[in-house]
Symmetry: C2
Subunit: 346 residues, 2 copies
């Protein structure tokens, strides 16, 4: 294998993105490469699946944000992905291992030097591999840590989840339902709303695009108020939730996807309610929970999945060349379920 010359395709950032990304902001570049390890602790993987995650939009802006350093124009996008090890100079990984972690969007990728420790071996009997980018990957873990550790739920409480059919939202709703909460979700199409109730067990679900008055919608679906809000969208939805949050409410701030493509973010007006209602708003990233919570998450959710207690819906594009459209479609809400891209068979 070592020394083999392959045709490698990569998805690169053509130019920094302002506002909504266009497919032309990304570019498929084809090169010939020799598969040769670069010193110690390198790996070369055949990329199997890519995950289209909203946070990648952060890294496409020119802003020098230490929390999301920009990709360089001309360089490949890198995100969560699965790969099969072809070559390894790291004794912890050997040929044939299936690994999950940050990788370049390519057919073949070296270990991602900016986050070399993100790689872990994955796989369990009876679990489709791509699930390690979703229910058993970063989005599932985000839902798990956000719900159990940030929301600090109590049985019988009402949780409201925005982007509820997405990669994270679908898991939050199911974890909350299994835990014993009343679960209300919103999404952006009738098909997604149907999925929330028929597949994920949400008690109530609505299409936010059909609601002129989000405050009124929340009062209709959460007549007793909201104990916990799992925040995935930001903007006007957050402002409406602040009008309906209950005393001692918790807002787990996971993402604000409605804001990522705006040149000027939406204004928020109702934060004074945090005081009178003694609300906690907590932003979080799963990196902070890796060591403590990850093993518990993997054990529990693998079990729940195998027992049929939680379901998972993914939206799989096929072919590396489809990645730009899949990513942009996900930002636009076109996906139904977790958006991933299949690059090759294992």
């Amino acid at each position: 294998m070592a020394g083999t010359e392959v045709t490698n395709r990569k998805i690169t950032l053509k130019r920094y993105v302002e506002g909504w990304p266009k497919e032309s902001d990304l570019e498929l570049v084809t090169t010939k490469e020799k598969l040769e390890l670069r010193g110690e602790k390198d790996l070369i993987v055949r990329v199997l699946y890519l995950s289209c995650d909203p946070f990648l939009r952060w890294n496409m802006s020119k802003t020098q944000d230490p929390y999301a350093p920009p990709f360089a124009p001309g360089e490949p996008i890198a995100g969560y992905a699965l790969g099969k090890v072809l070559l390894s100079s790291d004794p912890n990984f050997k040929e044939g291992d299936i690994v999950s972690g940050l990788m370049e969007w390519a057919d073949y990728a070296h270990r991602y030097t900016q986050r070399p420790n993100s790689l872990t071996k994955v796989g369990a009997e009876g679990v489709p591999l791509s699930y390690y980018l979703g229910i058993l990957g970063m989005p599932g873990f985000t839902a798990y840590a956000g719900f159990f550790k940030v929301c600090e739920p109590k049985k019988g409480e009402t949780i409201y989840v925005s982007a509820a059919a997405g990669a994270v939202g679908q898991m939050v709703g199911q974890f909350a339902k299994a835990f014993g909460c009343r679960v209300v979700g919103s999404a952006g199409s009738p098909r997604k709303v149907d999925l929330l109730k028929s597949k994920f067990g949400y008690d109530e679900a609505f299409n936010y695009k059909e609601e002129n008055d989000l405050d009124a919608a929340l009062k209709r679906y959460c007549p007793g108020g909201i104990d916990m809000y799992f925040e995935n969208v930001g903007g006007k939805m957050l402002d409406a939730v602040l009008l309906n949050i209950k005393d001692h409410g918790r807002i787990a701030v996971c993402g604000m996807i409605s804001q990522y493509n705006k040149e000027e973010p939406d204004p928020i007006y109702n934060l004074t309610n945090l005081i009178k209602r003694r609300v906690k708003m907590q932003g979080f990233l799963i990196n902070d929970y890796n060591e403590d919570v990850q093993p518990e998450f993997l054990k529990n959710v693998t079990e729940w999945y195998k027992e049929g207690k939680v379901h998972y819906v993914e939206d799989l594009a096929v072919g590396l060349e489809k990645a730009p459209a899949a990513f942009i479609g996900m930002l636009e809400g076109k996906n139904v379920g977790k958006q991933s891209v299949k690059v090759s068979d294992p």
Copy 2:
């Protein structure tokens, strides 16, 4: 005493307030009254001191807010106050006791029936009585619970306090300094800024009215960023703090005085920083801490005061008739230190 006829003056709400309150929204009403107890567990007190607290503005709006039910037009304002018991049908209180709690703004007041349990006996040798409306009262307790319980401080961290010379802010800064934090504060006049450094031990202080760019000011005075923000003002200041808050920062949301007189609140744009920086924003009211924290607060702060470890500056208006102007002046930031009103000698 019982049956004595007295001339009683009361400060009443003349009309609901919209925007900035005017003195003409409040009215001094004089009546003749017989001092007669109303059944069991009543008290009649001679009012000694009134506290001018920002939250009273909430109760002057027409809005039927369950968290701040409006005063009825024609009825007296009621707020935190000190009184001396003249008559009592409650065995827990006897003539001559000095009590603190919610009372009508008047010369003579019955027990406040909407919050009858707010009354406690106060007093300690060597502590001026009016201090029980400030350093040893609701504002001091707010500072104590907010700093120690909500901010969860670590030694060496930087805390930024807005309205830092006010009733709550002056205590937060001193508690934080004594605890071992770097303390930065802002206020709205040169005299207050001087007080912050010369009296309250703030490491850095600035006049926010002299800063065109609050973000730049915070970067200058908190060059390493802000670990904790004690939020008293809201609006543009909060938005600037969100640009300067550090990873795992905590924002204790105590008040948003800049917003209370606005028909439309200021927009907040920078909440997405909550996510990347994993920030906790926690609104709080001291009612939630009464039982657990109040005894510890009273013991510690009385001790610190007597040892000269914490100082207290109050701004005392004299005469019940001065209460409306004192209250409005406090909202405008005219006071230097905690604004109270002396109604009568004990």
